[in-house]
Symmetry: C3
Subunit: 163 residues, 3 copies
């Protein structure tokens, strides 16, 4: 499959999964949404911001329903996708996902796992067959903007590509 | 020391330390227990599961005693060892440990540190003289399966090896 | 700019910002303050220790004021700078900052962000124009020594340098 065909395939999946990547990611402070070093791309933790608002706040299984929590996780993925596109110029330059870390405010272990699974499922489908990733899932006390979930990602990049 | 001698040495230490590595690590969701990129192996966070059960649940220094907490940390190490063996085919392909992150539910700073030290001590002994590692220790609100501790690891791999 | 000129520039910034790097970093347990693998330097999480004491303990926005919280974050940066100098021999061997993770005990999202911003600002100024970094900010339940903040860092190293 050519680079352009792979790009079209990934974009069609993102659209089918309704993951609307958010471009022009503005970090919430004095940092970058992504830093590439060699063939490794480090993505900043993303909370489920839409523009400048965070539609879900608080704990999953409490103020935030389980369904809203999984939507919030998918919004984090949308922002990660936007940061990937902005950094690399194309999704097809993702060689492989390496490691995802999911931090969530959760009222129970099952709520915690549901949120992480929603993010893993989305990323796995978008980047298949290179979407497999290591994962750590952590229940936290608080997150920026009182978001229910924050997700960070380390991605391996294709060599030799240019934007 | 040859690769085979190194492998036998590490296996003898694992046995002497009673760390029984758990093979056939089944992740608790749609993710991989490890992803290798180049010479870097990213290991998913491991909770102290034995088969499908988690023998210790809750907070160290509270529902879980300090002694149980250190046992739980060693179970996490056993699972990390299993994931290393499954991914690389042999322990001797570990060139160096890079970074361990210990997340624990802990009732006090001293309980938190005791859990992390148990894991560091085990890994240091198993992989000596390549067992030195950077570490971050964090007290969390909740973990998957209500585990008292979850440990993730980044490992550097020997070049040129095959499984 | 030569390596020596770059080193002098960074040292003058550290002095101007009153960040007094702490050398002879002693880890609080059986681990290393930093591990270099290839051109990647993994720095252990640092709490705001000064010698063997932690001048601020508890939650930012609660026992610890916002101003003390940002001072604590800068102490973490001082320790990270000391660990960089000890590992690499010079600051000028830092090619780029990759990823910072800020863990804080915080009473509110704004306290959490203020602490993280203080650390980002300091690192950005010290290493400019290579100080840009990805960041994840997390509110935690507890930290070693009951510190209000703990900061870890991944740094890219110049090739070919020697100490």
């Amino acid at each position: 499959m050519s680079h352009l065909e792979r790009e079209a395939l990934i974009e069609s999946r993102i659209e089918a999964l309704d993951l609307a990547p958010q471009l022009l990611i503005t970090p919430g402070g004095l940092y970058a949404s992504a830093v590439q070093d060699g063939l490794t791309l480090y993505l900043s933790g993303q909370v489920p911001r839409v523009g400048d608002s965070v539609p879900y706040v608080g704990r999953v299984g409490d103020e935030v329903s389980l369904e809203e929590g999984t939507k919030a996780a998918r919004l984090c993925v949308s922002r990660l996708l936007g940061a990937i596109k902005e950094s690399l110029g194309s999704y097809a330059r993702v060689r492989r996902l390496c490691k995802m870390t999911v931090f969530a405010q959760a009222a129970s272990p099952s709520a915690l796992s549901a949120v992480a699974e929603a993010a893993s499922t989305a990323l796995e489908e978008v980047f298949s067959p290179s979407g497999s990733h290591a994962r750590t899932t952590i229940g936290v006390a608080l997150l920026p903007r009182n978001a229910p979930v924050e997700i960070e990602l380390i991605v391996a990049v294709e060599p030799g590509g240019t934007n």
